[in-house]
Amino acid sequence: MSVLPEAALKYVGVESEEEIAIDPVERGQVRRHAQAIGDEDPIYWAPCEANKRYGGPVAQPFFPIHMFRRAYGTEDPVEANASDPDYDGALKARGGLPEIEPLTHMPVMNGGSEIEFFRLAKHGETVKLKARYASITEKETSKGPIILIVSETDYLTGDGELLARQRHTRIRKPVKK
């Protein structure tokens, strides 16, 4: 029996509005990112010989995809779900895309990505994105059925230069009670 609700398929092809990251590339955030992943390459710190060709200090290749945070004045999901024992705390919809309501009760996991990099974001630059749901499919695995949600996202500078293009897979899996 299928675990993929028909209503979820209506989201395929849905596009986001262009979304601008709430903060520009912040030097301190680049440092926290570098130290968290254990890559303290001097190209991330300050102007140096190695980052001359990038035009100065830059952020990590994946940095732009983590820049889309909750804006001031929007609902705080942690507070809103504080009384829900099933709230998992996961970041839900990605890149301005709407949450796929028929699947919200299923735990979510990161399935992987295809990504192309074209340029690194510089300290102080603004980053924006545009995304769409490319496919929603069900797959049978040795551990039961899963739902694969594929979204495609372009990450650009505020001036429209392409930084990275990602095709990302999220996995939703029904919980066995």
């Binding site: 968290a36 998992d88 970041l91 990504i115 074209f118």
Partner: protein
């Protein structure tokens, strides 16, 4: 083999079948995971709340974030190609979980080389194995590297017309 940041790789240095210098991480601890989760403002409980991960989501314990592991795939390639090279494409799947206590090796093996007019392209298999040799993140990558005596790979990167 350790990685020498600042060393430049040239296309002529690359042969099919060669292993690139690997990167090791860990043993991974809950502070590692918490630090990454806080950095990216991801409050997903499966990364820090063991009772929730085990009892609610039926997982074996708290997990390393996939978003954490993908950083290292880019890092190992960036350090290998050098500042005049470019990490163009990554493609990977999170096929297995990695848990607290695991020591991880991020690896790459050259599977093909191609000549573009202004630089060379190198295709690789990539992945992340734990201390028992179990692969969690198999994938493929393509990087661009300069020819010896040639110009740096263009930046911003412009994909070649092959």
């Amino acid at each position: 083999m350790s990685i020498d940041i600042g060393k430049q790789l040239y296309f002529e240095d690359v042969t099919v079948g060669m292993d690139i210098p690997s990167l090791t991480k860990g043993p991974m601890t809950t502070p590692h995971i918490m630090r990454w989760s806080a950095t990216m403002e991801n409050w997903h409980k499966i990364h820090y709340d063991t009772p929730f991960a085990v009892n609610h989501d039926k997982l074996p314990g708290v997990l390393l974030n996939g978003s954490f592991k993908q950083q290292w795939l880019a890092q190992v390639l960036k350090d290998w190609v050098g500042v005049n090279g470019w990490v163009w494409k990554l493609n990977y799947q999170f096929r297995a979980m990695n848990l607290v206590g695991e020591k991880l090796t991020i690896w790459g093996k050259v599977t093909g080389v191609r000549r573009a007019p202004d630089y060379g392209l190198v295709d690789l298999d990539i992945g992340i194995v734990n201390q028992e040799g179990k692969e969690s993140t198999p994938g493929k990558a393509t990087v661009a590297v300069p020819y010896r005596g040639g110009k740096p790979v263009p930046y911003p990167f412009v994909p070649p017309k092959l």
